[in-house]
């Protein structure tokens, strides 16, 4: 009862390719042999949809490629395709993702395992093409699983992992993979592209079972249930999100077993944190300048480390509380804003503060808002962050909860 499109000739051997984050996702989609993809252009998501178009025209992928007339229909189409058993892909950026909001709300509620890519982009107005994380973040409470990546390799690997997790019957939730606009979507790096046979060992076919819409299996998708069932359905959704902790760990372990690479800790990357007094945190490609700055500061004897968060939903609060407990101060760099939030902090800083509330040790935590609208997070910004964290560590408390960095006066 599964929908099958004709299979395209697949690469039989692992290859190394010089590809961008967006192209890496298109490679993964080819290996995952997706069935239906929809497109509506917006920078920087358009780079992925064009890379997929090339895969199809080059005979590497056989899939339905539907050009929608706006993001709203773009997300509707794949949602329905998924309910009839198709493996689907979709995505957008900034206001495009915002325009799809109605469908984004419905997708997890209907337990549709869509994999989407968000090429992170500032929301208009004021217009900007550069990265901010607020676009993907506004589905954070709805049952979408959310992760951030920082390299082409991680883009490829995470896309495969995302299908494995989303389509697990224990989950059946959509996953949005966030890639920083321009910094990752457009920059190329050497990437290992595995063989199709290995991928098949890791990623089973999508099987919707008795939830699949089919003439032989008449079911109603999205009925009106009113107060009779709403809270029960919401709780089921919550339970699935909680099961994701286990399913994601299983998927990463299996990924390592099959491909012989990949992180042991799915939740976040730790860089020089073993002996770190100051731990900086953030998501996405700001890891690059932060790592460079850390190496320089280490030469001066400053014990600084980085935790780069990969998964934001489900939020690894227990794992983070353990990893952050030994720090003397924590600096969270947000490439987002949350006006009117507690302490005026960005979204990640607020979540980390909440995660530490019940922890045995709660080091001083300072929020930094930086790099909005695609502005670079500079080495100077990172030095400044560290300096502020050191004074908080010395004082044993936070003088000021949130700083905006790199802002013209």
């Amino acid at each position: 009862m599964t929908v099958t499109t004709q299979a395209a000739p697949a690469a039989t051997q692992e290859q190394e390719m010089l590809i961008s984050g967006s192209e890496a996702i298109a490679e993964a989609l080819t290996l995952a042999d997706i069935d239906v993809v929809t497109a509506y252009p917006i920078r920087p998501y358009d780079t992925v949809m064009q890379a997929i178009a090339k895969k199809i025209s080059g005979g590497k992928l056989v899939a339905e490629y539907i050009v929608a007339e706006g993001e709203h229909s773009q997300f509707e189409i794949v949602k329905h395709a998924s309910t009839v058993g198709a493996r689907v892909f979709c995505g957008s950026s900034g206001v495009g993702w915002a325009y799809a909001m109605e469908c984004l709300v419905v997708t997890p509620a209907l337990r549709v395992p869509m994999v989407a890519m968000v090429g992170n982009r500032a929301l208009d107005d004021p217009g900007a093409f550069g990265v901010e994380h607020n676009d993907a973040l506004f589905v954070r409470d709805l049952g979408w699983l959310l992760c951030w990546i920082d390299s082409s390799q991680e883009a490829l690997d995470t896309t495969l992992i995302a299908y494995r997790v989303a389509e697990d019957r224990r989950i059946f939730l959509p996953i949005a993979i966030s890639a920083d606009g321009a910094f990752l979507t457009h920059s190329q790096a050497i990437t290992k592209v595995p063989s199709k046979s290995l991928v098949d060992k890791f990623l089973p076919p999508y099987n919707r079972g008795d939830l699949q819409l089919h003439p032989d299996n008449p079911i109603t998708v999205a009925p009106q249930v009113n107060e009779d069932w709403v809270i029960e359905i919401r709780r089921q959704n919550n339970a699935a999100t909680e099961r994701a902790y286990t399913v994601i760990e299983e998927a990463y372990a299996d990924f390592r077993r099959v491909f012989g690479r990949g992180p042991e800790n799915p939740w976040f990357e730790e860089y020089m944190t073993e002996d770190a007094e100051i731990i900086l945190m953030g998501m996405g490609t700001l890891s690059l300048p932060v790592k460079v700055a850390i190496r320089k500061m280490r030469q001066e004897g400053k014990k600084v480390g980085l935790i780069r968060l990969r998964w934001f939903r489900p939020f690894p609060y227990e794992q983070l509380a353990r990893a952050l407990g030994t720090a003397k101060a924590i600096g969270v760099i947000d490439r987002d804003y949350s006006f009117g939030s507690p302490f005026g902090s960005g979204v990640v800083a607020t979540e980390v503060r909440a995660a530490l509330y019940n922890a045995e040790r709660r080091p001083p935590l300072i929020g930094f808002i930086c790099g909005l609208g695609g502005r670079e997070v500079t080495l100077e910004d990172v030095y400044k962050t560290t300096e502020i964290c050191y004074s908080a560590a010395k004082a044993g408390k936070t003088e000021q909860a949130t700083y905006w960095l790199g802002v013209r006066e």
Binding site: A39, P41, M49, V67, G70, V95, D124
Partner: protein, 295 residues
């Protein structure tokens, strides 16, 4: 022999543009600029003071037009120029409201607004730069891409039936419908003048080269070549049946038909009419500043 040089310090149209916004974003050979100039000239010649003109756009290369014009203008969200303009026209009927936007903005993501504003005969002008693709985002296939034409998302050539825009506008209720190109600037300006004079929903399609997004994948060498294509391939035939106006570049020698195709009268959308005393509704004083010329 000495050559005398003639240096003009000012261009007659200078006051209409915001020099501080230059350089503009458009590529060499882009058709949006000349068509914008035609609009600027039409505003001057319309006899309506510039202060009463308003220009509204959505998002796209064409959508940047209001930002370069030295007048009241709005750069709205993608696809939403028409409802925005509609609100202005209803609240301040004495203003001359023109939507200036791209084919993708007006007919893909914003298509719904177009048909309903035309159906209601809202008193706005809609000027659409049709460059057959989403220019700003990198040349993707859109709702006006001709059959067979290639785009970044149609590598085998477009297989979807595109809109015949004049036909669509007329069928949904526009009272004035025209099509010109960025080569036919004089006729285009005249059509704009007619639209500005007319009350109700007017629509002008402007075919314009996008050498980067549309020209390149379709083996049209440069903007000059696309202009030559217009010069050689266009015929002016205002009486042509509307359903014959579709553009198909695959069929050699099939002409692109231009002209002012529709110019009719119909009651203009006026939601407050029913609340006004009859005598007042008949000669709506709010729009007294705008005279309706006969045909």
């Amino acid at each position: 022999m000495t050559m005398s040089t003639l240096i003009a310090e000012r261009h007659p149209s200078d006051p209409l543009f915001r020099a501080d916004r230059l350089p503009h974003i458009w590529c060499p050979g882009c058709g949006i600029g000349p068509a914008m100039h035609a609009y600027a000239q039409a505003m001057v010649e319309s006899g309506i003071p510039l202060a009463r003109h308003v220009c509204v756009s959505g998002i796209g290369c064409t959508g940047r037009v209001p930002g370069y014009l030295n007048m009241d203008s709005y750069h709205t969200t993608h696809g939403r120029a028409i409802p925005f303009a509609m609100a202005i026209a209803l609240v301040k009927p004495e203003l001359e409201v023109t939507v200036y936007s791209g084919d993708g903005d007006l007919f893909a993501i914003g298509g719904n607004h177009f048909i309903h504003a035309a159906r209601r005969n809202v008193d706005i002008n809609v000027i659409c730069i049709n460059n057959f693709n989403y220019g700003m985002t990198g040349g993707q296939v859109g709702p006006t891409t001709p059959m067979g034409a290639r785009a970044t998302t149609a590598p085998f050539g477009n297989y979807e039936q595109p809109f015949n825009l004049p036909h669509l506008a007329a069928a949904t209720g526009a009272v004035f419908v025209a099509r010109w190109t960025s080569l036919h600037l004089r006729q285009l300006k005249q059509a704009m003048l007619r639209a500005m004079k007319k009350r109700g929903f007017t629509f002008i399609e402007v075919l314009a080269p996008c050498p980067v997004g549309f020209g390149r994948p379709n083996d049209i060498g440069d903007a000059m070549e696309e202009m030559t294509l217009y010069r050689e391939g266009c015929v002016v035939d205002p009486a042509a049946p509307l359903d014959s106006l579709d553009i198909d570049l695959r069929v050699k020698d099939r002409p692109i038909v231009l002209g002012n195709f529709v110019d009719v009268e119909r009651p203009v959308f006026d939601p407050l009419a029913m609340m006004r005393p009859t005598s007042e509704a008949e000669n709506n004083t709010a729009v007294a500043g705008k005279t309706q010329e006969g045909q």
